[in-house]
């Protein structure tokens, strides 16, 4: 299995802060400014959501962001153009649903199948993919395409993922695993469950960075989760909330971008602080 070097490097110097935004939310230009603000705020990797019309794994915050982006005219072609124009120097991971990956070849006049999408993603500089509706059982064609084009394929480990399912996933994962902190869909919550700690323990024997997501919204939470052994934290809804507020209040794009940058900085600092707080025995898991 190929490992993407850019992603491996992002985890090499300690825990990574990984923010998410839906691309094109609320429009193309503003979205570019927002993603660049996350990079300035200290993102180590950025997850870029490519909007799909039926986002079954998302809670209402990200679902609404996806609706705004689709209404703003975002398509897979525009998404790749967006990535090409983006002025950031951290690795980018595309988060989307399988049907868009599967159909991309057909949209360009070829046959359906994941290869055309992955090839184009590699061409524009995407380092990895997260596909929330693609369990390990159905992932072999995409895994193969990712190997062919040097992309990582990130899987989501749920609190309910155990035993054989976990093994099947770990045989196919590369880059990092996305540890889902609690059951349910994405969305900012104030509590970070002790399911997170149990999940990290369950994964301890696997030699792949573990990034925790779902419900993280503050630097303090980020620090606590990293101190408990996470190799990275993923934050989506708390950032999308800022974009949503910007869109509804119609304040200038620069103001929203500045707020995003500040929030990113808080989360990035929390991530580093958590690493410093780790006790030696926690570090062992």
């Amino acid at each position: 299995m190929a490992e993407n070097e850019a992603i491996a490097a992002a985890f090499a110097d300690g825990p990574a802060f990984i923010p998410y935004l839906a691309v094109g939310d609320p429009d193309y230009e503003a979205s570019k400014a927002y993603v660049e603000a996350l990079a300035r705020g200290g993102a180590d990797i950025i997850e870029l959501g490519l909007p799909f019309s039926e986002p079954i794994a998302e809670g209402s915050t990200i679902q609404n962001a996806i609706v705004r982006a689709l209404e703003g005219g975002m398509t897979p072609s525009r998404f790749f153009e967006f990535v090409t124009e983006l002025d950031v120097d951290v690795p980018l991971v595309c988060m989307t649903y399988y049907n868009l990956i599967y159909q991309y070849g057909r949209s360009r006049g070829g046959a359906p199948g994941p290869d055309a999408f992955v090839e184009r993603a590699a061409e524009v500089g995407i380092s990895g993919l997260v596909v929330p509706d693609l369990p390990a059982e159905e992932a072999d064609p995409l895994r193969e395409a990712c190997d062919d084009h040097g992309l990582d394929l990130v899987f989501i480990v749920a609190p309910t993922t155990e035993g054989e399912r976990l093994e099947r996933m770990m045989e196919r994962v590369s880059g990092y695993v996305y540890v889902q902190a609690r059951l349910g869909t994405t969305g900012a919550k104030t509590d970070v469950s002790d399911q997170t700690t149990r999940s990290l323990q369950r994964l301890s024997e696997w030699d792949v960075p573990k990034a925790v997501g779902f419900g993280i919204s503050s630097g303090d939470q980020a620090a606590r989760i990293v101190a408990n052994g996470a190799d990275g934290i993923i934050v989506g809804s708390a950032l999308v909330d800022i974009v949503a507020e910007g869109a509804s209040s119609e304040r200038p794009v620069e103001e929203t971008a500045a707020e995003l940058e500040a929030k990113a900085r808080e989360l990035a600092e929390g991530t580093r602080e958590g690493a410093a707080r780790r006790s030696p025995d926690v570090d062992a898991i």
């Binding site: 799909f52 019309s53 039926e54 986002p55 079954i56 794994a57 998302e58 809670g59 679902q63 609706v67 689709l70 398509t75 897979p76 072609s77 649903y97 399988y98 049907n99 868009l100 599967y102 159909q103 991309y104 057909r106 949209s107 359906p112 929330p132 509706d133 693609l134 369990p135 059982e137 159905e138 899987f155 989501i156 480990v157 749920a158 609190p159 309910t160 993922t161 155990e162 399912r165 996933m169 889902q180 059951l183 349910g184 869909t185």
Partner: protein
Amino acid sequence: MSTDGKFGDYGGQYVPEALMPAIGELDDAYQRYVLNNEDGFMDEFRERLADFGGRPTPLQRADRLSERYDLDVYLKREDLLHGGAHKLNNALGQVLLAKYMGKERIIAETGAGQHGTATAMAAAHLDMPCTIYMGERDINRQRPNVFRMKLNGSDVKPVTAGRGTLKEAISETMRDWAATVESTHYVIGSVVGPHPFPAMVRDFQAVISEEARRQAQEKIGGLPDSVIACAGGGSNTMGTFANFVDDDGAERSSADDPSGDEPRGRVDLYAVEAGGSSLAVDEEAGVAPNSASLSTGEEGVLHGARTKLLQDSFGQIMESHSISSGLDYAGVGPELAHLVDTDRVTPVAVDDDVALEGFHRLSQTEGIIPALETAHAFGYLEEHHAELSGSVIVNVSGRGDKDLQSAIEETDARDVPNAPDMSMFAEGI
């Protein structure tokens, strides 16, 4: 029949990781209770279908339609099942299965409200708390069904995302399930979704064709020449076809078919889809003014399964349309997609106008007011009866009481040649 969840290349389990263990648990329960009748599950299911549901439903000869078309037309009267539609077969099966599995709560999505009302009835009957997700637009189209669900003690949650129809309600129910999966069973309303749902829902609905096949022996003296059913997601379709699929007229050696000592006859199967206002699509607007995914859709992945879908060239799911909200869905069951690809099932489409004429025709000629979904099958019969011969079974998947308001409005909005003059009542409706 498939046991790995695949029908050719269709089917599978494309769902968020958090749901995979629940789907595995459900598959295990499906094998044990449904396929192997563990703890007498299927016996209890059959008994409740008879006592609570009123099965078997009749296979009735439609004398006037038979005369009109010079065919032997038989009606499988699923409209007489408790609740007024075939939906109870599946809802009762799944709620009972949830009980056997030790689940404490039921959730379901509904489009027309027929699956929601059937689930609400089954949940009340079996004493399970129940929440139903329904698109806001469908709530406005189907208010009486909302009341029925509430009367049976279910909680009805409006879904405002997208256009507020069935596909948004399915997505929302999957979200609830992702958060509550340990205690909750999702009663999916059709032969769609991840394995084992398509196979399991087919098996619960297959009682329709099991009875029809037996009743045909008595009334027709053998197999029908054709079977016709409307198709949205495809649960009444698969239920009506399931026990006729092997009647494909092919030669079989006794090794292939040890059970059958008689040669297999040939039964033609027609799935009638909603042609809406047109089979063309507006790619720019992301709208397909029909729900004909078997006839016009392309392979893709939606709501947990690979199947035929109405989608744009990038794979974004289109907004579908039909005069009948029960057929208004951009996907279709994966097994039906496979049966179409292998030429076992013929997909056909009937537009809104022809369906509405079918609605009035069955009401007038046979004294049966059909659901607008069902009316599509009778629209097809009117238009294509010359291509059929011998005996035909049409599944009357549901009764039309729920559709009276929209049937009157839709009739009013166009020139329907066989509609009664309702103008004198226009003020009072």
